[in-house]
């Protein structure tokens, strides 16, 4: 019918790509991973981290358990810290995230009323066993606020401003009573 012309046309396409791969820059699209890396995008989300302001002993997290409840695959375990009398403290004693269960949806970050949990950009997390070494504990999850500024500058600044405003509003409503 068409005497094989379509076949030749198809072959010209692949040959063009072959020649261009040597002559034209940027025609090879693969990224040679460990040496080259793709540009980091700010909104990229991988696994959650916990943020603290000054010191890791006082994280922003107040162990309210909302993220654990809303987490679709239920990968977050939170146990509230208690003082000697057994009264609940405003911080978690246990905060575990099982990365092998987490599906990086980012809902924990969205629902957190205290802006304590954020999605990290770190994706090189391979481990030799999938039970214990991928179950991240609080110590491993805690990152300073400066780290958040590093990976997500615009979001972090906004959140800082928001928290500051909240703080000030709090101070205004109850001046001097907190002592």
């Amino acid at each position: 019918m068409s005497y094989g012309l379509g076949i030749l046309k198809g072959m010209s396409v692949t040959l063009k790509q072959f020649v261009e791969s040597y002559t034209k820059k940027g025609s090879i699209v693969t990224v040679q991973y460990p040496e080259e890396r793709r540009e980091d995008v700010e909104r990229f989300r991988n696994f959650p981290i916990l943020v603290y302001d000054e010191k890791p002993e006082a994280p922003r997290c107040v162990a309210c358990d909302i993220c654990a409840k809303e987490c679709p695959p239920k990968c977050i375990t939170i146990v509230r810290d208690r003082d000697e009398q057994g009264r609940g403290l405003q911080k978690p004693k246990v905060f575990d995230i099982d990365l092998s269960v987490c599906m990086s949806c980012g809902i924990c970050e969205e629902v957190c009323p205290f802006d304590a949990i954020f999605m990290d950009h770190q994706f090189e997390l391979s481990a030799y066993d999938r039970m214990e070494s991928l179950n991240y504990h609080q110590e491993k999850l805690l990152k300073p606020n400066s780290y958040l500024h590093q990976i997500r500058p615009t979001d972090a600044t906004q959140i800082d401003a928001k928290l500051k405003a909240k703080e000030e509003a709090k101070k205004k409503t109850q001046p001097g009573t907190t002592a």
């Binding site: 790509q17 072959f18 025609s27 090879i28 693969t30």
Partner: protein
């Protein structure tokens, strides 16, 4: 220049002369054979290894990626890494398989493709065994591999393997016919089956006497090339191992080194057929300036590259289309090509060219119109709903 051209011949001579000093005379012919065999036994696996590398590289480039580039510079050590991997892999024989046949099949598939190398004229005076019936030997030996493929497919006791083996048999029997028909023209014109003689017959006129520049030679070359792509099971004729349909066809149940042997046979076949096509139609090792073996290598490389290129471009035929393509297009085309070659032989030059061209052109157009693949192809227009 002459030295460089005859480099390998001289090397062999030196070895033999050296051996003369301590070996008894009756053993010398055996030593001569042994040297040739060793050369082939070293050359063939090396070719296969670097053909795999070449294929991955070329196809990679066609697909906008680099291909292997991790092991060694330009990934040149990749074939060795692959070899080590293949050797250390577990060798699985399926339960219920015919163990002996299963084991023998990969061996039986490699041996014929190694034998093919013995009649290839790699350069001036560089045919390992200059048989008078070299071409016949080539064609006869090359079809043994099919049997081994069937052995592998049958012994695996796997339905996909069986299907693949059946397909391989049907396909190779069909494609053998136009393959031989295309070769017959060369034999008609040259009057010899010896590969050396065929190359000699194409000498002179600065390359214009290569058979590919005659009408029957061109058609013969195309037929030979298409059939050889099919004979070595490469895209678009790779239905015996069509991985999207029947997993891996006849070598579904092979792993490790046995699988590598099947793979090796495929690549050696591809190389040998390309080399034969170069010998028959592209003037073999003939060419100016460069040493003869380099010319031969270059021509073969071009054909191998084309095979890889085809693989990088096309989907594969369906079984019935493949068959009808062989029987309804290639076969009659081969017959009319013989006619054209006969006319070429018996009529003086300008007339012969015109006659042969017309015969071939008409049969090409006529046969193309008869839908060689069995389906009516149509350009379609599409309507749009608003």
């Amino acid at each position: 220049m002459e030295r460089l051209d005859q480099l390998f011949v001289l090397l062999k001579k030196i070895i033999l002369q050296f051996a003369e000093s301590f070996l008894p005379a009756p053993l010398l012919p055996f030593l001569s054979i042994l040297v040739s065999i060793t050369a082939i036994a070293i050359f063939a696996p090396l070719t296969m290894m670097y053909l795999t590398w070449l294929e991955r590289k070329v196809i990679g480039r066609m697909q906008n990626r680099f291909g292997p580039n991790r092991v060694g510079i330009y990934g040149l050590l990749q074939p060795i890494a692959d070899g080590i991997k293949m050797l250390t892999k577990e060798d699985v024989i399926p339960l219920g398989a015919d163990r002996v046949t299963h084991f023998l099949a990969p061996v039986a598939v490699v041996v014929p493709s190694l034998l093919l190398f013995s009649v290839l004229p790699f350069g001036r005076n560089m045919t390992a065994v200059n048989l008078d019936i070299g071409l016949l030997f080539f064609i006869a030996v090359s079809s043994i591999g099919t049997l081994a493929i069937f052995m592998g497919g049958w012994a695996s006791r796997n339905k996909f393997s069986l299907l693949g083996a059946m397909r391989a048999f049907a396909q190779m029997i069909s494609y053998e016919v136009p393959l031989v028909l295309s070769v017959v023209t060369v034999v008609m014109i040259v009057g010899s089956l010896s590969t050396e003689k065929i190359v000699e017959a194409q000498s002179g006129w600065g390359g214009l006497r290569w058979f590919v520049f005659t009408p029957w030679g061109f058609v013969g070359f195309m037929l030979f090339f298409i059939c050889s792509v099919s004979e070595v099971n490469r895209t678009p004729f790779d239905i015996p191992e069509g991985e999207s349909e029947i997993v891996a066809g006849f070598h579904t149940e092979y792993s490790g080194m046995k699988f590598a042997l099947f793979y090796m046979a495929e690549f050696l076949g591809a190389f040998a057929y390309s080399a034969m096509a170069a010998t028959l139609f592209l003037g073999g090792w003939q060419g100016p300036l460069l040493p003869s073996w380099l010319w031969f290598g270059l021509k073969t490389f071009c054909l191998v590259f084309t095979m890889i290129w085809l693989r990088g471009t096309f989907p594969r035929f369906r079984v019935d289309q493949l068959m009808s393509y062989a029987w309804k297009f290639l076969f009659p085309m081969g017959l009319s090509n013989i006619l054209a070659a006969g006319i070429w032989y018996h009529t003086p030059f300008p007339l012969s060219f015109i006659f042969a061209t017309w015969i071939l052109l008409l049969s090409f157009i006529g046969l193309s119109r008869l839908n060689p693949t069995g389906t009516r192809l149509e350009r379609r227009t599409y309507r749009f709903a608003e």
